[in-house]
């Protein structure tokens, strides 16, 4: 297995708060990794640095052995790193189908912008159909995104990232704000889609049931540091993880 993502000595401070304190993390292709930590541990900051939304104060980020530190979200996205958001970032005034069409038109036609969008959409209609099917979005396809239930918005958000054929997919709390009955459903759909494409996945999660069920490896953050990294079962039983992160929740 080769390393898709590698970070070296990442540092990021917000005033006196250390959001990232010497992070050295390697992610292999074709693995699913969970990222846990209490609020303010620096989980989203890490995602934001990897995707270029924030620039680290110090340190380097390599994607497929290329230094991508300080590049813009757009440049990093184009290299194959896609993400979803804690608060779904979808096109709220457009329908589910249009959301996917826009994604496809950007993803499949980088150089060919002048092509009629219908042509693009027709050419790639199988991709759109496929994602609508995989994420059970068919019944919503003509609905405007702002009117969807939260779980469906999350799915749309993730499906927009997956349409782009990522090599690395970063999910920020894919099940937050989703009802307990729905959460396994959502994760099943996402993980099935990901596994069939052999994509490396890192997801931030508060829900330990989700972590146990879907990840092989887990990273635990505390105050911007990695305090545990290893097989999920071992990490979740590690004393400092129980003390600092899981606390009374288990």
């Amino acid at each position: 297995m080769t390393a898709v993502l590698r970070t070296k000595n990442l540092l990021k401070n917000f005033g006196a708060v250390k959001a990232a304190d010497n992070l050295n993390i390697t992610l292999e292709s074709d693995t699913t990794v969970g990222l846990i930590g209490s609020n303010g541990a620096g989980k989203t900051t890490f995602l934001n640095m990897v995707t270029g939304y924030l620039t680290p104060d110090h340190g380097t980020i390599y994607f497929e052995n290329e230094n991508i530190t300080g590049k813009s979200p757009r440049d990093i996205t184009r290299r194959g790193v896609y993400r979803s958001f804690q608060i779904p970032q979808v096109f709220n005034t457009m329908t589910v189908k249009e959301n996917l069409e826009i994604s496809v038109s950007i993803g499949m036609n980088q150089p060919n912008y002048t092509k009629h969008i219908d042509e693009t959409v027709n050419n790639e209609s199988s991709i759109i159909k496929n994602s609508l099917q995989k994420f059970k979005l068919e019944e919503y396809q003509e609905k405007v995104a702002s009117q969807l239930p939260e779980g469906t918005r999350k799915l749309l958000d993730i499906s927009m990232a997956l349409v782009m054929k990522p090599k690395l997919l970063l999910l920020d709390e894919p099940t937050s704000g989703v009802s307990a009955e729905e959460k396994f459903n959502i994760m099943d759909m996402v993980m099935n889609a990901v596994r069939s494409e052999k994509i490396a996945v890192l997801f931030v999660e508060h829900d330990m049931e989700i972590i146990k069920r879907y990840t092989d490896r887990t990273l635990a953050f505390f105050n911007g540091r990695v305090i545990a990294d290893g097989l999920t079962n071992e990490v979740l039983n590690q004393e400092n993880v129980i003390e600092n992160i899981l606390g009374s929740s288990i």
Binding site: R74, T77, Q89, T93, S103, S105, I106, N112, I117
Partner: protein
């Protein structure tokens, strides 16, 4: 065949055919509507991108002055060259200013545009060589090499060229709006962050759309100067830009035909009100605008699209 394109083409042909028999005042109204409509075409592209310019008079005026100064400065009075000059000058200016403006949104975009247009107004209204606040007269002596003054229907030829240019702009913009890149305008208005995270450059698209809208405004201005025969700095004054915003809001941004409809309604209200009650035409415009903002937030065009909702977009 695209229904909108068919409609535009039929409209253009109808205008050209009927222009021959139209009374002078109707030709004038149609010409002004077409020029304003062309400017507003660019404005709706910006609106789709989520931007409202309160300074598009800048390019309207620049286009007109570029066309008008060819004669005094270069001795050229060929209509085609005048239009090319307008395109060149507005492209270069908007390309340069675009690097700044593409970083601005909302009211700050509106205000910085306003500042630039007022800078041009300030310059032109004090430049004695260009007639200061009075401006100067513009004449196109030839069109495609044909001497217009000797031609019995010289004015008609100008009208035909105006219709043709508007038709071309309208068609091209329609095709652009349907392209992959054109569609991104709406995506940007909706959610810039997502567009960047899908791998497209928001700033580039805004920049491109800004240049397109500027060129359209410049062409509108150039055609206006040729048809009316006179230009002055007022074209760059904020109230002119305000009129464009007015028509844009009145039209709505859902179709490329809407700007011409809006412009026609605007010019008609203005001319007739000006004729019959010169002291209340602005009042009438203001009330119209409030009514549209309250009852038709998507513009006049939404009246039509509601009726033919079942049809193709």
């Amino acid at each position: 065949m695209d229904r909108t394109l068919a409609f535009i083409s039929i409209g253009a042909v109808t205008l050209i055919l009927s222009g021959y028999a139209m009374p002078q005042w109707a030709v004038f109204l149609t010409t002004v509507s077409l020029c304003y409509g062309t400017v507003v075409l660019g404005m709706i592209l910006l609106v789709r991108t989520g931007l409202v310019s309160f300074g598009h008079g800048l390019y309207f005026c620049l286009g007109a002055y570029a066309a008008g100064t060819l004669k005094p400065f270069f001795g050229l009075s060929e209509l085609v060259f005048m239009l090319i000059a307008a395109i060149l000058v507005t492209t270069i200016t908007s390309f340069a200013l675009g690097f700044l403006l593409r970083k601005y949104r909302d009211i700050f975009f509106a205000m910085l545009s306003l500042a630039f247009s007022m800078i041009l107004y300030g310059l032109l209204s004090k430049s004695t060589e260009l007639g200061s606040t009075d401006g100067f007269n513009v004449t196109a002596e030839t069109a495609f090499g044909i001497a217009l003054s000797e031609l019995e229907y010289g004015r008609y030829l100008i009208f035909v060229i105006t219709v043709g240019t508007s038709w071309l702009c309208c068609t091209l913009l329609h095709l652009y709006l349907l392209s992959n890149k054109g569609k991104l305008a709406e995506a940007i208005r909706d959610n810039e962050l997502r567009v960047e995270y899908l791998g497209a450059s928001v700033n580039n698209i805004i920049h491109i759309n800004y240049v397109i809208s500027a060129v359209l405004a410049g062409l509108g201005g150039a055609l206006m100067s040729i048809s009316i025969g006179h230009i002055d700095p007022e074209m760059s004054y904020w109230t002119t830009s305000g009129e464009f915003v007015f028509i844009t809001i009145m039209s709505g941004s859902s179709s490329v035909i809407a700007p011409f409809l809006g412009a026609a309604v605007f010019t008609s209200i203005r001319s007739f009100a000006y004729e019959y009650s010169p002291d209340t035409w602005q009042l009438l415009l203001g009330v119209t605008m409030l009514v549209i903002i309250v009852f038709l937030p998507e513009g006049l065009w939404s009246l039509f699209s509601k009726i033919k909702k079942k049809g193709s977009p």
